[in-house]
Amino acid sequence: MTPLLTCKEFLRELSDYLDESLDAEIRAKLEKHITECPNCWVIADTTRKTIQIYKGMEPYPIPDDVQDRLMKALEKKIAAREG
């Protein structure tokens, strides 16, 4: 019988658990832990949602003035290189 995980041990593995990069044995232990520990279930669930929300964010289009200056700087660079 393998020893049960503490909440602290669970937290330490949480990132790898959410990234699905753990091997089956430790994964099974974590899954068992969250079925028995409501607090860790909430932490895992809300951390997963945190990551999902950020992943879904598209970058804002870059402001026109920033874009203009970038393109001008590059044009200058290219012109200098092509001499």
Binding site: K8, L11, R12, L14, S15, D16, L18, D19, S21, N39, V42, I43, D45, T46, T47, K49, T50, I51, I53, Y54, K55, M57, P59, Y60, P61, I62, V66, Q67, R69, L70, M71, A73, L74, E75, K77, I78, R81
Partner: protein, 207 residues
């Protein structure tokens, strides 16, 4: 360079090959493809709009200059991310020298990860907010992280780089990336809970 004529459907490797042969339109297309992400990354790392614009320019200038050094064994995007991160960190260091910004990166290496808020969120809790409100909430939360956590989170979870790519871009070990990522995620979770927790779970929701 000013007139976009390159069709956008071309794959990255082809564009890079064309750009290396001197096709400036192909390079311009690469810039257009990634400028938004690089600018966002630069803003997140520097936390300063002016610095971020400098970083954006410097990144693509350097990429253009050193295109012949791009090996093609990593993705082009990963390569420019590395340039951008270096430029952004240089800005941060310069500000540190100016003493205008505290960069005392007291990385707590203890394994304890602090969890204060344990309240469940509803399904799709972000739906409660407008796109703009949500953007502000997410940006503010990221900005409040210490720079070492912020950079790791942005590269790993927003820009979707692998752990190894993030380690390479930030010149960190894989375990360091992992431990910072965990802390960043838990800290953000904590900050977002304020907005996203289920209404009924908030004892003062009726106020």
């Amino acid at each position: 360079m000013a007139v976009p004529t390159t069709p956008t459907g071309i794959d990255e490797a082809t564009l890079v090959a064309q750009a290396r042969e001197g096709d400036t339109q192909a390079f311009a297309e690469l810039v257009r493809r990634y400028e938004g992400k690089i600018f966002r990354l630069a803003q997140h790392v520097t936390n300063n709009r002016e610095d971020a614009e400098d970083v954006l320019q410097e990144t693509f200038m350097k990429a253009y200059e050193h295109l012949d050094q791009f090996q093609g064994n990593s993705k082009f995007y990963t390569w420019i991310v590395r340039i951008a991160v270096n430029q952004a960190l240089m800005k941060l260091r310069r500000r540190k020298a100016d003493k205008s910004v505290s960069m005392d990166e007291t990385i707590d290496t203890g394994e304890d990860t602090i969890v204060r808020e344990i309240a469940a969120w509803g399904e799709d809790p972000e739906q409660r907010f407008s796109r703009q409100e949500l953007g502000e909430i997410l940006d503010t939360a990221i900005q409040s992280l210490e720079p070492p956590y912020r950079s790791v989170f942005v590269l790993r979870d927003i820009d979707d780089l692998s752990t190894e790519e993030t380690a390479e871009a930030l010149n960190l070990s894989v375990p360091a990336v992992k431990s910072r990522l965990l802390r960043a995620r838990l800290q953000l979770r904590e900050k977002l809970s304020r907005y996203f927790k289920r209404k009924g779970d908030d004892a003062f929701a009726y106020l």
